[in-house]
């Protein structure tokens, strides 16, 4: 039942995609992106009547390739520009891909200790689309920025160039830390998760069956037992999910990443960080 809804939505959205592609602005195109039907449909459910400021340059920016090398692994980055001097920080961030069968890529939560709401990941893009990031600041204001991306087929592409190897290594994780430039500053980290992140949208032509969706849905990062980033994500995240993020390094501690998938798989990775910020 659920699947049928996905597919019905997918078909409906594909039509919208072609209409929207008439605009195809290169780079930030937030103003044009307001006219996209899918967005107009999603907005009330996600944000109600709340005002969304599209002059977001001083708060948040989005870095996406205009044309993707691989629609099943499109690198995207959100950068936050609040340095804390006005007392505000970004507490929540939505990442949306309008023309995907499930447009919401994820909802990310950040904290004063987060070291900024920067996040980089790789996503599946199913059709020419706007990708948008909406940030909610600690004073409850919303800001949006959107880029147009040319890519197609990312969600219906099968996972895994090496299916056997993927099954064997599921749940393996890697946590890499780049020390901060200055003591007490933001350290950069990358979390890698071995997971096929099966969309369930690539039909097996031989069996005429769709595989069971199986993907990472929750990520919880903490440092010194304080939250750094939490994310609720969907199968729009590419196979073997990768997340780069920041955390504020204030003395030695343990960076912990807890991951949960849709089949109740739980995975954990830890990295000890010393006083200089090296791991």
């Amino acid at each position: 039942m659920k699947r049928r809804q996905f597919i019905a939505a997918g078909l409906g959205l594909a039509v919208g995609a072609r209409l929207a592609s008439a605009a195809e602005p290169k780079g930030p195109g937030t103003a044009q992106s307001l006219n996209v039907e899918v967005w107009q449909g999603l907005r009330p459910g996600l944000f109600g009547e709340r005002e969304i400021d599209i002059d977001a340059g001083e708060i948040i920016s989005l870095d996406t390739p205009y044309r993707a090398a691989d629609a099943a692994a499109v690198p995207i980055a959100v950068r936050s520009h609040l340095d804390g001097s006005d007392g505000r920080y970004i507490k929540r961030m939505w990442l949306l891909i309008d023309q995907n069968p499930t447009p919401v890529v994820g909802v990310f939560s950040f904290y004063p200790e987060s070291g900024g709401a920067d996040v980089e990941t790789r996503v599946r893009v199913n059709d020419y689309t706007f990708v948008r990031a909406i940030a909610e600041t600690s004073d409850d204001k919303l800001y949006m920025t959107a880029n147009f991306v040319k890519a197609s087929g990312g969600c219906s592409a099968p996972a895994s160039k090496d299916a056997a190897a993927a099954r064997q290594s599921l749940g393996k994780m890697k946590l890499r830390i780049d020390p901060p430039a200055a003591p007490g500053g933001a350290a950069r980290a990358q979390l890698l998760i071995r997971h096929p992140n099966v969309t369930g949208l690539a039909m097996d032509q031989l069996t005429r069956m769709y595989p069971q969706p199986h993907y990472v849905r929750k990520i919880d990062i903490s440092y010194q037992d304080k939250p750094v980033m939490q994310a609720e994500v969907t199968f729009a995240i590419a196979e073997n999910p990768s997340f780069r993020f920041n955390f504020r390094h204030q003395g030695a501690g343990v960076l912990v990443a807890r991951v949960e998938d849709t089949e109740d798989g739980h995975f954990e990775a830890r990295a000890q960080v010393d006083a200089s910020g090296a791991s």
């Binding site: 390739p65 980089e120 160039k161 090496d162 299916a163 690539a202 990768s242």
Partner: protein, 310 residues
């Protein structure tokens, strides 16, 4: 006398029927590169309406008893044209259709060979890899070629090779070897003992930029083994046949090593996938064709593989 005439007319009638069945397909051009070894050179290109999907090298080998086909093209029509070419050179039946891996430009002509006594042979890992992608492949071929793709559908192998197997064409043996993940996870090579001819499938690209859809590490390891085979004739999946000695393999090794080194350096320096793709090209890449179509993809594939190295 009379019976001879009758037989003659019956023969014509059968030929006419056959032409009807094959859709009056003009035969593909083939060259006999060694005794009984025929190769059709596909264009070094992506699928377009102009080339009709004729982009991979397709071959057949004639034994004393029967014929083996090695790769069948992107469409039913190309498969029929290959069959027509076979009929220009031999009346022996086709007994084996071998697919070197699951990409559509190598398997989608299989449908033209379906019939009694034809056995379809491939790597044990081909069926699942093809069936996971077949819908997407069909759509792509249909979108790119329209009517020229009519009648195209996947025909799956029935005889699967997990390590090595030998096929006998009557006085002629073909050795088939399934490889660990390299160009794809279901690469298969064919070696004709009589003429020392090696079909690499897409484990070798000549002129056409190599495309990583498996593992760059696995592929580099496979190249060592392929060079060591010392075949007299080498038929790549794409590009010119019989490039002198192991030059083709060495050039491919140089490119794949360059990709791996570039990506490893970037990962070590903490640069992201995006930064690697945006960094631009080097001279190692410039000698190849279709760089724009495949090089960024290769960097992406190598990056997502090699970031897991310790």
């Amino acid at each position: 006398m009379l019976s001879q005439v009758t037989r003659h007319f019956a023969g014509l009638w059968l030929a006419a029927l056959a032409v009807g069945a094959w859709g009056a397909q003009a035969p593909l051009s083939v060259a006999e590169i060694a005794t009984g070894v025929f190769v059709h050179r596909g264009a070094v290109a992506e699928v377009t309406r102009d080339n009709g999907g004729d982009i991979a090298n397709l071959s057949f080998v004639v034994g004393e008893r029967c014929v083996a086909v090695i790769d069948t093209g992107s469409t039913a029509a190309i498969g029929r044209a290959l069959l027509a070419a076979i009929r220009q050179h031999t009346r022996l039946p086709v007994c084996y259709v071998i697919n070197t891996h699951m990409h559509f430009d190598h398997v989608f002509g299989n449908v033209a060979f379906e019939g009694d006594g034809v056995r379809f042979v491939a790597s044990q890992r081909l069926p699942s890899s093809l069936s996971a992608r077949a819908e997407g492949f069909l759509q792509r071929v249909g979108d790119s070629l329209g009517e020229a793709a009519e009648g195209t559908r996947p025909v799956y192998p029935t005889e699967l090779v997990d390590t090595v197997t030998t096929l006998d064409l009557g006085g002629r043996r073909l050795v088939l070897k399934a490889w660990p993940t390299a160009h794809t996870d279901n690469d298969l090579t064919v070696y004709d003992e009589r003429t020392a001819t090696l079909w690499t499938g897409d484990l070798l690209f000549v002129e056409h930029l190599p495309v990583i859809d498996g593992s760059v590490r696995g592929w580099l390891a496979a190249i060592d083994d392929l060079v060591a085979l010392g075949a007299r004739h080498v038929v790549p999946g794409h590009g010119p046949v019989d490039v002198a000695g192991s030059d083709g393999l060495e050039r491919e090794r140089a490119y794949l090593s360059h990709v791996a080194a570039t990506v490893r350096r970037a990962i070590r320096d903490g640069r992201s996938l995006r930064e690697v793709i945006d960094a631009g090209e080097s001279e190692t890449v410039a000698e190849w064709q279709l760089v724009e179509a495949f090089h960024p993809r290769n960097l992406s594939a190598a990056y997502t593989e090699l970031e897991w190295e310790d």
